[in-house]
Amino acid sequence: MTKTTTPLSESQVKAWLGDVKDPEIPVISIADLGVLYDVTVDNNEVLVTILPTYSGCPAMDTMQEDIVEHLKQQGVDQVRVVVKNTPAWTTDRITKQGRRQLQAYGIAPPLEKSGQPISCPQCGSTNTTCISQFGSTACKALYRCEDCLEPFDYFKCHV
């Protein structure tokens, strides 16, 4: 059998890329994180445009490799990944599903409105304190729940 001759569609590529996860938070896909910006297909050549989260995010290289690798497994060999800084990524780009996934993983999602309290992802209490403005990665801060006493990561609001 020869390779399928059905032309690649952008929606198909996007569906495949739905399985590419953030290397540092492996429960959220790059699509739900809002990092995946655009996919175009030209003559079976795929161009994927991504928006980096933080300027110095060390996960960007891995994300690019993961995208290429993932599409290769689907039989797509011609892939180019472009990193674009405009529009600047913000946490508003995280989808509703992405927010739920962060929460379930134990990371408090970014506040949608400033001034709201940050809830503990374990017990839901809003009686929480910031321990450090930076957590395990540039995009997170470290909090502690004063009720269940668990420390937790908060995905910083970045707008």
Binding site: Y54, S55, N85, G135, T137, A138, K156, H158
Partner: protein, 250 residues
């Protein structure tokens, strides 16, 4: 015009890189774990800004250079950062106050640069501003916490202020090329920016109950490639790998 833009992009990139390198030196030496992580995360953001700025400088340069070449293969007299950012990291009070001065400068500068007539600079500013605002919140908090706590902490903050204060005007220094960029609204008016910065700084130092020194040696020269002895040692450390193993990749 491209020459002046390249000159200014390098000024900003070198400032971000040297500041980043100095606070990254705290890795493993922070006063406690959370602060160790915070300092290195700020360093990472600044390194990201340096990368964006060097990439743009390489793009406009007449020479065939990459962002890495600019960061790792230029010598002391080609660096354009103000002397402030190359000063050794000192103690935690010194690092904190220096970071605050730089953060306050970055926030006002990137806010203004969002209106730059040079689109790539405006794009970088939009991206960087989101990060430096967060840095400023953190360094302001620390200045207050240290200055208003024990006598020892207060003394160290006062000593840091006495040592650092006269290095800060150099952040706003201009030359013929920068004046040309200001005239074309590519960069903001530096003396206006200095006034805004001074106002914010005076307000915070007042809250911190610190006393601004009245006289001292005024630093100058970074923009012309005239640096303190400290930059050479920093570059020897930072550029070692590329000098010893040219073209080496991670």
């Amino acid at each position: 015009m491209n020459k002046a833009i390249e000159h200014y992009l390098l000024r900003l990139a070198d400032t971000a890189l040297t500041q980043s390198q100095r606070i990254a030196e705290w890795c493993g030496h922070g006063p406690f774990l959370e602060e160790d992580i915070a300092l290195t995360n700020v360093a990472l953001d600044l390194l990201g800004h340096a990368k964006l700025l060097y990439e743009q400088a390489a793009e406009v340069s007449e020479q065939d250079v990459s962002a890495d070449d600019l960061a790792f293969l230029r010598d002391v007299d080609a660096f354009k950062n103000p002397i402030l950012t190359e000063l050794p990291r000192g103690d935690f009070a010194f690092t904190t106050l220096k970071q605050y001065f730089v953060d306050q400068f970055n926030v006002l500068l990137y806010q203004a640069l969002m209106d730059s007539q040079y689109q790539p600079l405006s794009d970088i500013a939009t991206k960087a501003l989101k990060e430096v605002r967060y840095h400023l919140t953190r360094s302001r908090d620390w200045c207050l916490r240290l200055s208003l706590s024990t006598d020892e902490a207060k003394q160290k903050m006062q000593a840091a202020l006495d040592d650092l204060y006269f290095y800060t005007p150099e952040l706003f220094e201009t030359d013929d090329q920068l004046n040309q960029l200001m005239a074309e609204s590519i960069i903001p008016d530096m003396s206006a920016l200095h006034n805004q910065w001074q106002q914010q700084v005076d307000e915070l130092l007042n809250k911190c109950q610190l006393k601004t020194p009245t006289s001292g040696w005024l630093a100058t020269g970074g923009l012309r490639g005239e640096h303190s002895e400290h930059l050479g040692y920093m570059l020897a450390d930072m550029q070692f790998l590329q000098r010893a193993y040219p073209g080496c990749e991670w």
